[in-house]
């Protein structure tokens, strides 16, 4: 098993970040073309906790090295299941996801948490990402290590792109909100 962890901060308040999270893989994000579709499967507010629970299906298309497709099979499309929880009281957005495709051979489990940053909770948001990667090809330790290492490398690469892309979405969303506000103020004055 290999573990990947990273923490970073965004220069936007939690409300803005958690809203833009739903648009993370929109065309505003030019850095993550490997995410080709995001579908919402279910969504409800839990009456007891007030938490918004959402299930999504994320479809990716990624070029894999030949040796890996030979082991895992040929399809380049893969599916990720994500269940997320937004607690508006504690201002915590948690996204838990794992791979559905190749699940018999490889397990990639990711937990992402967005909370107001401790040092600047009004205008900064902390992002923490943890992933556990486990390959299950019994006995073939060498191949197992190779698959896990490749997956970690790809994960590191995608995490960096994900961050860059999300910055684009956050910036674009801020512009659109500002325009919207201006339009509303104009119409109120008229």
């Amino acid at each position: 098993m290999k573990i990947f962890q990273s923490t970073t901060h965004y220069n936007y308040d939690w409300e803005h970040v958690s809203t833009a999270n739903w648009q993370k893989y929109s065309p505003w994000n030019e850095k993550t073309p490997h995410v080709i579709a995001v579908d919402t499967l279910s969504r409800h507010v839990d009456p007891a906790s007030g938490v918004l629970r959402t299930e999504r299906l994320i479809t990716c298309e990624q070029n894999c090295p030949k040796w890996l497709t030979a082991i895992l099979g040929g399809d380049s499309k893969s599916q990720v299941y994500e269940c997320s929880y937004v607690d508006p009281k504690s201002k915590t957005l948690t996204l838990c996801s794992h791979n559905m495709t190749y699940a018999d051979l490889l397990s990639v489990r990711e937990t992402v948490v967005y909370t107001p940053s401790a040092h600047n909770p009004e205008s900064n948001t902390q992002f923490t990402q943890t992933a556990k990667i486990t390959a299950f090809c019994g006995g073939w330790q060498k191949i197992k290590n190779k698959i896990e290492q490749f997956t970690v490398d790809r994960f590191v690469e995608n995490a960096a792109k994900g961050r860059e892309g999300f910055e684009m979405v956050l910036e674009r969303a801020r512009e659109v909100f500002a325009q919207e506000r201006e339009r509303m103020e104009m119409s109120q004055r008229a």
């Binding site: 409300e15 648009q23 499967l41 839990d46 269940c83 009281k89």
Partner: protein, 83 residues
């Protein structure tokens, strides 16, 4: 907004996503989530999506995937929430 895995659902998905985003930022985050005006659009989108998932055999894979969320449900939907 992002696309749907089924092109035929894109239009209704776009309308639902737009509605949800407005509800999320203007109502849910402000503690005003008693009503959900996006429900009819979500029903339309789900009808389209479920058909596509079935055709592609993804519905079966989803059943297994969903099993795991029971644990995270308990962890992240505590009635008191984290304080």
């Amino acid at each position: 907004m992002s696309a749907s895995l089924a092109a035929e659902c894109n239009e209704v998905k776009e309308r639902y996503d737009t509605c949800f985003l407005k509800w999320y930022s203007e109502k849910f985050l402000r503690g005003n989530a008693q009503t959900d005006e996006c429900a009819p659009l979500f029903t339309q989108y789900k009808t389209c999506l479920n058909k596509a998932l079935k055709e592609r055999g993804i519905d079966k894979m989803l059943e297994d995937a969903r099993e795991d969320s029971r644990e995270t449900d308990i962890e992240y939907m505590k009635p008191s929430g984290k304080s």
